[in-house]
Amino acid sequence: MSIGTMLLQLGEGMLTTFSIFALTLIFSLPLGLAVAFGRMSKYKVVQAIMKVYISIMRGTPLMLQLLVVYFGPYYAFGMALSSEYRFIAVIIGFALNYAAYFAEIYRAGIESMPVGQYEAAHVLGYTRSQTFCKIILPQVIKRILPPVTNEVITLVKDTSLAFVIAVSEMFTVAKAIAAAERNILVLGIAGLFYYIFNFIVAFAMERIEKRLNYYR
């Protein structure tokens, strides 16, 4: 295999890795907020369901969850597994898992807000949704940025778990090439890719944090 083909294959793997990363964030960040609301719901049943959901997502390996999402439909309903479903299953699995982690971060952030902020808004006549969107959420975002950054960096590395259902993301490709070509260097390139990816993520998050530093 020429260096060119190798890089081309790695490049495709990177693209898949990046897609998993981006799609997971796009779905799990808002879903996490919904889960957090459910977790703080005044309805005990909703609260309990969300609590169980979060504890399962956090208490079992993501790898196992991916397998369940991928093979689940086949074993439960005898549905045929198309190859496109592999990628979809990865996104579903990741989004469900990360939503649980984000939900707990959101919840901690929301519950850390002083009650005086709600009371001031209430007396000023803000509606509940105005209070949340204008007063609470912006402050919560600032507070939770550090733990969210941690999760996002973990996600970059976790994308490699997609290999369990044979989605050829970066790491899967690198491993295959390394085995076929007896060339360990390609794993080094893969490592470098993850490192640079995370470097950019950390840089971007730091920029956002700085941007929010205009108040305390």
Binding site: Q117, L124, G125, Q130, Y215
Partner: protein, 253 residues
């Protein structure tokens, strides 16, 4: 007609009866000082009046408009949402610890509610906010953020924020208690100026001299009851009730 009328207000937290049959009224332009020992229910009274707490029983009426009234079985029934929203704009509350919105500039803190709650135009809101800031001696601070201000300045911003909604009445819950002693004077002066303009106010305070000075009427509370009520001269200088006397004696020391 009284700006604020409270009849037979009762409020418990669990089995703890915190307000026991409180009735009071505040007339237009009147300044009422509320005194009393810690735990006597002063804050709870203000929180019930400003709808931060619900009353267990009793009536709450602003300028003839009912927030809630007794249903005849000793339970109180609140008005519908639209009515409550309307009444909420009739009063403002100044908190002990300001509760400014830290992510908003001073100006935005003041104009945001007029714009997003009262749907007033931005130009109008900004103009009025600037006048209020000038009045508070903070004309040059509109672009500051709360953390950049002293406690006294923050409290003046929070007073401006409350005034920006043009309330008929203002409540203060120990507006100077969170401040360094040398900063309390600024706030007391602002409140005195408002009194001179005949702003209707109810002020919970531990500053006896200030209360004597600014209030038309003093309410003295103990154990969830109004034990004495009258002019400052009557209640502060010639207290009849034993509780009032011992409280004032302690404060003098």
């Amino acid at each position: 007609m009284a700006v604020l009328q409270i009849n037979h207000l009762r409020k418990s937290f669990g089995s703890n009866l915190v307000l026991d049959d409180i009735s009071m009224s505040v007339e237009k332009g009147e300044v009422v000082g509320i005194l009393g020992p810690s735990g006597s229910g002063k804050s709870t009274l203000l929180r019930c009046a400003t709808m931060l707490e619900t009353m267990d029983s009793g009536d709450l009426i602003y300028s003839g408009e009912y927030v809630c009234k007794n249903d005849g079985n000793g339970k109180t029934v609140y008005a519908d949402k639209a009515q409550l929203k309307k009444i909420r704009s009739m009063f403002g509350l100044v908190f002990q610890n300001f509760n400014l919105f830290p992510h908003y500039s001073v100006l935005k803190n003041i104009i945001d509610a007029p714009i997003s709650v009262q749907k007033r135009s931005k130009e109008e809101a900004v103009e009025e906010a600037r006048q209020l800031l000038k009045k508070m001696g903070l004309a040059d601070k509109e672009d500051y953020y709360p953390y950049q201000l002293s406690g006294g300045q923050q409290q003046r911003v929070s007073i401006a924020r409350a005034l920006a909604l043009n309330p008929q009445m203002l409540f203060f819950d120990e507006p100077t208690s969170a401040l360094d002693p040398e900063l309390t004077g600024d706030i007391l002066k602002v409140i005195r100026d408002l009194a001179a303009e005949h702003m209707t106010m109810a002020i919970v305070t531990h500053e006896i001299d200030f209360a004597r000075n600014v209030a038309d009427k003093i309410i003295f509370m103990a154990d969830g009851l109004i034990v004495e009520e009258g002019t400052p001269d009557r209640v502060i200088d010639n207290p009849r009730n034993e509780r009032t006397r011992s409280f004032l004696a302690k404060m003098e020391r």
